[in-house]
Amino acid sequence: MPETSAGTLTAPTKPEKQRPGGTLYRGREGMWSWVLHRITGVAIFFFLLVHILDTALVRVSPEAYNAVIGTYQTPIMGLGEVALVGAIVFHAFNGLRIILVDFWAWATRHQKVLFYIVVGLWVVTMIAFVPRHLINVFSH
């Protein structure tokens, strides 16, 4: 709008910053733990399908199994295993958080704190796993 038209009319102010409704859940810890639980769950499920098939190759021949499992030992797959273990560890600890929230009133009230405990335990577990795994993948 041209500035000259201001006059006595109340100038159109900028619309208030849009805030999503229901901020108790949306965009908060509860939502993100749910999102991550879904994404990691789906990823683990599809890995499981592949992993059963590749392990079944032990029934075909030693050569067939070794050829496929050898691809799990390449640097790129080694990084993929970091992602896989990261997904599993998050899904595991957040699953325990879900159980606590379901069965224990204190945990229901403190589900946000529990989310940060899950993240903290995830970090600790990954610190224990990742360096050792990457040394195995990249040095032997």
Binding site: I44, F45, L48, I52, A56, R59, I99, H140
Partner: protein
């Protein structure tokens, strides 16, 4: 004239007959989840942390593990619990993101079929596994095959 119930009146549940499968599914996800944490963390530790980790895995490694019924049952229990847990979790997503109809039935059928086939396949593999197949090069086999 219809009477309006008090706002705080408890909802009347339709009388149910038989088992509530959704309730048992809910319980299964939690019970199997706790057991799977033990089984999968143990699996990851044995296969990725001990010794040279992923680099040590080959036919001989698997043969050595499954020579022990303890690890056979560990892996079979993990197989059953994890696939049912995973397929049931995927069923939740199908319920959330598709409408009832043919596509939903096909997706759930595919989940059920893949879980059933892989459970049967995996169980057969673990219990019919031959660690010392005749004619295979000895350096690919577990060390006890030479004896």
């Amino acid at each position: 004239m219809t009477t309006i119930e008090s706002p705080r009146a408890p909802a009347r549940l339709a009388p149910r007959r038989g088992v509530n499968l959704e309730k048992w599914g809910w319980i299964y996800m939690r019970a199997s989840g706790v057991v799977l944490i033990v089984l999968i963390f143990g699996h990851l530790f044995m296969n990725l942390m001990v010794g040279e980790g992923v680099k040590a895995i080959d036919f001989g490694f698997v043969g050595g593990k499954w020579a022990d019924p303890f690890w056979q049952w560990w892996d079979v229990l993990m197989l059953w619990l994890a696939l049912i847990h995973g397929a049931n979790g995927m069923r939740t997503l199908v319920n959330d993101y598709t409408n009832p109809g043919t596509i939903q039935k096909v997706l759930k059928g595919a989940l059920f079929a893949s879980a059933a086939v892989l459970i049967i396949l995996g169980t057969l593999v673990v219990f019919t596994f031959e660690p010392c197949p005749a004619g295979a090069p000895a350096d690919l086999l577990p060390s006890f095959c030479a004896a």
